[in-house]
Symmetry: C2
Subunit: 225 residues, 2 copies
């Protein structure tokens, strides 16, 4: 389908130098690095193409704009967790176990990858229409947490003053790994994922033996995913 | 001391149009707006000067560079909380009450001001030496939380697996208001400050009547500050 991918068409300017199974993925990898290191505004599509070793015109074969590349990178920080939330919505496990599994998965995702793409959420210059799908998917993920919190409240597993604020705190605690990762460069998901998943339950007043059970069941759920 | 402030020296290009008691503060206000709306890289010192209604040369009388303006804005998101942490370090109140007061103050600070300056923490292009004072002060604030957490653990008020990770979670929960504020535009500190301060205590396994007492004492401490 793609020239650089199939080895046909115009030759590359340089040998392949990027991670990724296709030209499209190499472009995403290069853009992730440049956006993360030198910033979004300061990065041109020409610089991304050069970093991949392809012509700028070839980049436009895959992506219509720099914004579209960013949108795809950002969506990638949310979609896998949204898939997990959809699977968990149908699970017979308790709400605490499912929140634990979702938060732990989400933290692992935000810790993974070579670049802290979650930090790009906060780029001040980003409000363009091209990013609407990302904002929508992120709100859907937040709603996935909210639904599990509501369910846990209904079943008496969680006690909160106000479910909307509790959802903000839980979602905020998960996303705070982006801030910590920005300080440290890398984070160990083996330490952070369970600590934050436990923390989410604590924020919902699920403690003691009930927290320990949810942690155990949530970890088993996560291993099955 | 400053021409524009004292009303002497070169006249302004335009009537005063910014918030702030001095030219310096007007420059900070203009830069905060431009950095928050169009981004840091895309904002020139010339644009900041024009937005204040002064000449670029006059801006350089107050600030040596765009980075220095950013550094001052960022330090302003941390220093007031650091002052509060210093006062609280000498308070005879319990560690839970003091963590509550510090977190609630910090959240109020991050919710305040016209622009979500905390979002600028995550600018990818920011690692310059000019920002070293900001990173230092922010680490000092984090250490202030850490000291209160250690004290609470020592006195049996908090139960944590690992104090360093617990500090990351507490500090992360406080700073997560920056992420929520970025989504919503504005946040009501009257709702978020106590909710997050309670949440910090929950993360430290301080719950029930002990949490209620710390909330009450912390709110009283905060009112005295």
């Amino acid at each position: 389908m793609v020239a650089a991918q199939a080895g046909v068409g115009r030759p590359r300017l340089a040998p392949r130098q990027r991670e990724g199974a296709s030209a499209r993925e190499e472009i995403l990898d290069a853009a992730a690095e440049l956006f993360s290191v030198q910033g979004y505004t300061a990065t041109s599509t020409r610089a991304i193409a050069e970093s991949v070793g392809i012509r700028q015109a070839s980049l436009y074969y895959h992506f219509s704009s720099k914004e579209q590349i960013l949108a795809e990178l950002l969506v990638g920080t949310v979609l896998p967790s949204l898939d997990v939330a959809a699977v968990l919505a149908d699970s017979p496990q308790t709400a605490p176990a499912r929140i634990w599994a979702l938060a732990a998965f989400d933290v692992r995702l935000l810790c993974s990858g070579r670049w802290n793409l979650g930090a790009l959420y906060l780029l001040p210059e980003l409000r363009p229409a091209n990013l609407a799908p990302f904002y929508t998917e992120r709100q859907r993920l937040r709603a996935g947490y909210g639904a599990l919190i509501d369910e846990g409240v209904t079943h008496g597993s969680f006690v909160v003053d106000d479910a909307a604020t509790a959802t903000d705190l839980v979602f905020g605690l998960v996303e705070s790994v982006v801030l910590v990762r920005q300080d440290r460069g890398t984070l160990d998901p083996g330490r952070f994922a369970p600590a934050i998943a436990d923390g989410c339950l604590r924020l919902l007043s699920c403690t003691g033996r009930r927290l320990a059970a949810a942690h155990r069941q949530g970890a088993a759920l996560l291993a099955d995913l």
